[in-house]
Symmetry: C2
Subunit: 356 residues, 2 copies
Amino acid sequence: MREIGIDQLDDLARGAGILGTGGGGDPYVGKLLAREAIRRHGPVPVYDIGEVPPDATIVPVSGMGAPTVLLEKLPAGTEELTALRALEAVLGRRATHIVPIEIGGVNSMIPIAAAAQAGLPLVDGDAMGRAFPEAQMVLPTLIGVRNTPMALADDKGNTLVVNAVSNHWAERLARAACVQMGCQVSCADTVLRGDQLRDGLVPATLTLAEDLGRAVRLARAGHADPVAAALGVLGGVRLFTGKVVDVERRTTGGFARGRARLSAVRGETGTLELDFQNEHLLARRDGEIVATTPDLICVLDTDSGEPVTTESMRYGLRVTVIGVPCDPRWTTPEGLALAGPRYFGYDCDHRPLPAA
Amino acid sequence: MREIGIDQLDDLARGAGILGTGGGGDPYVGKLLAREAIRRHGPVPVYDIGEVPPDATIVPVSGMGAPTVLLEKLPAGTEELTALRALEAVLGRRATHIVPIEIGGVNSMIPIAAAAQAGLPLVDGDAMGRAFPEAQMVLPTLIGVRNTPMALADDKGNTLVVNAVSNHWAERLARAACVQMGCQVSCADTVLRGDQLRDGLVPATLTLAEDLGRAVRLARAGHADPVAAALGVLGGVRLFTGKVVDVERRTTGGFARGRARLSAVRGETGTLELDFQNEHLLARRDGEIVATTPDLICVLDTDSGEPVTTESMRYGLRVTVIGVPCDPRWTTPEGLALAGPRYFGYDCDHRPLPAA
């Protein structure tokens, strides 16, 4: 057991922003929520997966919506606890632990805020090992865990409980309601028992995010290359260094969808195109695919190593794109059916990242 | 107390089809559902409002969606009981009575089916005295009764429970989910206590619908004018007799919206235009408004007196349009704010129907 206090939030948010592969929502907003909750309620205990009793009730709490909306429409700060309580009411029992559904952006911070507010400990891990845009794209789906009952709460006080025939149906119904609720809601769903955590979570990703964020900060402070520091922690590969020259973006169907084009700088040649649906899905170098979901395609500010989310990409930014292998469970046939490129409508298979 | 058995269904469905002002969904489909439920579970007891104990729990059960969809996508027949049980689960108590939310089309039949399946009695009345397209357009809204918790169930087995900050928000969230669920779902919502029925219901409308349906049938059998027979029961006014010459229709936003144009026959002159959103909202004769929501604008087959729903209007049908004054609570300022022409975007006030 360790604790997450206010001092850990900056590194954690930075690292989770990188692991969020462009999505998961702006970590800055999440950091404000988590900081305020810790300031009021104190630091949050964090347990390793192995420390959680097998009969514990672990509830992922997260935000759903389009990150573009979160930039302008701040949460009320009450949604996550409202969603948790609505879920507990239909479950008929209380959560014993909170866990991030994804280790990305605001969704690494909302669980901290929820845990602080509820007076519950966190589990060190998440259900993706990255961020994905849709609710059914979690390891628990692969082991047959249902994501319903799913409770949604908005900033106005509306709540919704979905019971669906499949995890994909839950996403579909929740997304439609989420759009009406203003495209930014809190969710509590995909309840796990303690003995399901090994198969249902990627372990120790809160620690990984903090380590990653710290490595980037220390490299920057020591005038070293922060992107190299990130790669040192993550073990991925540098795909492209360039300048953002074009971003198409639309907020549609409850997602931020679009495409960004980077042109070469610093001795690099050619162009890189990034397709995204909240998260980056595909990277094409001079028209050829070099990285695909479910591998992590992460965009960092070249000089500072700060994560660049899809909604904050804009003309002129100097960025470095790195590819990081996903958790191996995502490249099984079942994992690829859930979150591979074909699910998102691309006529290509997942291909391994180029060698470093 | 009386009973509704299979023998009453034809007259009831016919009368409710007329009272549904073009909406409420095809009564034929509803009749099949109610007939099957009564055949299996026996006739349904019906109580007058005055016979219901003040502490009773009365649950309206209904269908939500676009009637155009109901024509092609039949209910599974399990949705209404699933919605009722989902609502009871969050209420923490069982319904003692079922009541129609609206006396119109399929929504006068679904409560009969639900009551038979649940083994519960019906209350003779409904929450509108007609049909309206949106869930908040009920008399309980006018007396401060919330329509949430609202439970929705679809034919696939998905359920949803909405808790909203207003009755209008509940409509908005439920409608979005309803569209995803295939635009045809069952709802249980707007729970009433026995002592709220006098203010929350229009009394005895199941009896009215049956009387109306019988009067039309008997007139037809006796070679009398069935439309005159309907007016004899309802006390309305004949607005136009004509032929349907044009129907624009689109199923959008979870509703069947459109406009129908009638040209004169049988010594009538000019044209009549009808605007609808599931139900008829406005009638214009030669461009001049002659009837508006919340008054009932009902379309009957001129020869048979059978109700013509908005989704079954088609070129060549000979129809008579009648106007029937609504329950007086709908023409109060609060009633008009909820369901008057301005709510639906028309730049006109409600005007009383022309004299008979």
